[in-house]
Amino acid sequence: MNFNMLLMSLLPKQASTGAAESDFAFWVVFWICVFFGLIIIPATIYFAIRYRKKGKPGLTNGPTHSTFLEFFWTAVPTLMIFFIFVIGFVGFMDFYVAPSDAEEIRVTGRQWSWTFSYANGSVEYSELTVPIGRPIKLVMSSEDVIHSVYIPVFRVKMDTVPNRYSSLWFEATEIGSYDLYCTEYCGDAHSRMVTKVNVVSEEDYQKFLKDNQGEKSGEQLYTLRGCVACHSLDGSPKIGPSWKGIYGTERPLANGSSVIADDNYIKQSIIDPNSQVVKGYPAAMPAYVDMPEEEINAIIDFMKELK
């Protein structure tokens, strides 16, 4: 691996039009910093060795000030910062102002999952799927606490704030599947609020929209509604109990009583989760008050299958 490649590997790959601009600013600042670093650090070490003195020190008579020098190292960084600021500001505006023909995708964050809704909400999905070569604007909000969407390969990031809309935009340039992180600390499963960005061709995108219209299966809802963050399917306990084999069993409750996990109990647990908390688990689940009846049924059916 040669030096150039080593340098380039400092940053992850670029997969959007904006990434190159962000990286340009990065490299400008990088080389400026390397330049100053290569003055300060070697000079420190050189002076320490060059002027080392063993035994009793005598009178020293180095300069105690130099108007020229001090002006010099005040003025040069000052000019430098104007330059860097302008680069950063121009890039920031490019990242901030979405093109007018950008397609809007609505993003909702919650503890601890994402929902992306396309085409005026007729399609919802837990992964972000975007077409290549077209500007996409994410209009984002949160249902509970502050989250943040971060897609390293696109170099974009924006917080999602409850009761407000924030937005970011990008134009993907490479087909592939990339990571999307939540970067604003949001509680227990913060580190599992990770999903994928799938950049696909225009045809695949249209196909994706068509395929995902209409009713969702219980399995889809499991990821889409964020159940996945707290409930596993393989029997291991996460923040909430695993769904494996849960249907029809007797559940010991925190208040000492117990209940059979039948349709009614599961529905109750979705709409008002904290009324019947299973022993040993925190009352941490958000209430899905507005979940439609058919979705609840689909989830119950899905749980029945997990014997």
């Binding site: 940053l11 300060i40 002076f47 002027y51 020190p57 860097i84 950063g88 990031k157």
Partner: protein
Amino acid sequence: MSTEKNYLNHPKGLLSWLITVDHKRIAILYTIVVLFFFFVGGVYASLIRLELAFPNTMIDGGTPALGGATVAETEGMYFDDKTYNKIFTMHGIVMVFLVIIPATPAILGNFLLPILLGAKDVAFPRLNLASWYVYMLGAGVALTSLIAGGVDTGWTFYTPFSTLSKSVEVAGIQFSPVIAITLGAFILGFSSIFTGINFIVTIHKMRPPGMTWFKLPLFLWGMYATSLIQVLATPVLGVTLGLLILEKVTGAGIFDPALGGDPILFQHFFWFYSHPAVYIMILPAFAVISEMVAVHSHRNIFGYKLIGFSSVAIALLGSLVWGHHMFVSGQSEWLGAIFSFLTFFIGIPSGIKVFNWLATMYKGEIKLNTSMFYVIAFLINFAIGGLTGIFLGTLVIDINLHDTYFVVAHFHYVMMGSGLFAFFGGMHHWWPKIFGKMYNEIVGILGCLVIFVGFNITFLSQFYLGLQGMPRRYHDYSGFGPEEIFSRFHGFSSVGTLIMAIGFVIIALNWLHSLFAGKKAPSNPWGGLTLEWATTSPPPTHNFHKDPEYIHGPYDYDKILPENIAQKPADKE
């Protein structure tokens, strides 16, 4: 042991320490607790690194016990995510509020400030003692949150996450750990304010005749700037945390969006204090380094006025830039641009200082002892920490790097690599004066080198992790991202932490050895010209046997030979 009376052995008894108003004894009291909390915070840090070194050993959930902590029988230690979140929160709170903010001002500042002025004590000795007790009270209140299982909000207490956190029942009482810890931080703020008021008044009103502002040792300029921030910014933290508590208790609707509030307003409130707080951490470090670099280079400091002014400039500018923590928070983008612009200006005075220190070393007669090694380590760390700050101040780059490990590494370089390195350097520099004992130079240098190496391994790896997109405050990184890069560099980082821990053990042993078996320190082991070297080591209760005469500037190494100073009349008892 010598039989002469000094502040350490006269008067005797535990009570005489607990009701002392002697600034030197209060400094020792602070030393004990701050170092204890540094140990606690260090343990938390080690636990974080331990967890991240072995990511795949985590098993979700686990059996909740001891507030969630469990020990796996499969592959070594691990924590579930709730426990991990509590650990990094406690690491942040302990290190910021209990260690770095009080460390240099309350220990070295308290000890040296009056002596450097030739005074007998700070202006308000009883307030000074009160600040220690308030600190202890605040620490106690904050730590009660551990009874309820700890806090997992992060040290920034962002709403609405912090207002949504639930209270737990402890012994039949509803107890909110978040309220406990914010109340603790609120109380700690008063301790900080008391110290600040004391220092400002002392520097203003208790200078000896002839010591004008431009003849002050630079340590005092740094302390003055620090104290200004402490006095002016800390109350805002007070009202922020107060409102947060009220928000939790009454649902006031000021910060909680569900009730009509504005969570971004909380961030403004919080960072209005917490950004200047960074300068409360770093300005004392500048103060310490300015002294050490001059004494150990035996050189008149280069550009005295510029160093002094730049401290005050940093204090003022530092209060104008808090919004750079919020570039992607949804604050107004114009405001973001303004904050970015102002942020860069901080770089100028910081850069001036670095170049002036370098110029001070030029043509000096440098003694490569422990303190000088700390100076060199500081300069290197601060160069890296400061320069990486430019990345984060640049708007478009910050969009990418915000809340990643790049930020974590950057602020550790500034707070720990610079702030705490300067503190430890200062402790070595003034150790003979404080305790009257010499330590072993070779071991001291070794300790410095080991923590320097460990520190750089730990946090250089984190720069790379951040560039690769590793978000901060992640408990687990298995299953996504460039996993092998993440795991390799987290591994390096953890190894670095281990090395650092060994370094701190070396330093601690060296200090303990010095206390119990060290050689008696002379009055002026380094040949310094400031007034603290004109009294005995350790100083007598009222600092000077005979009032010191202010006859030369603090850095007149070009006019006065160090050996002449050792024969000053004040030294002969």
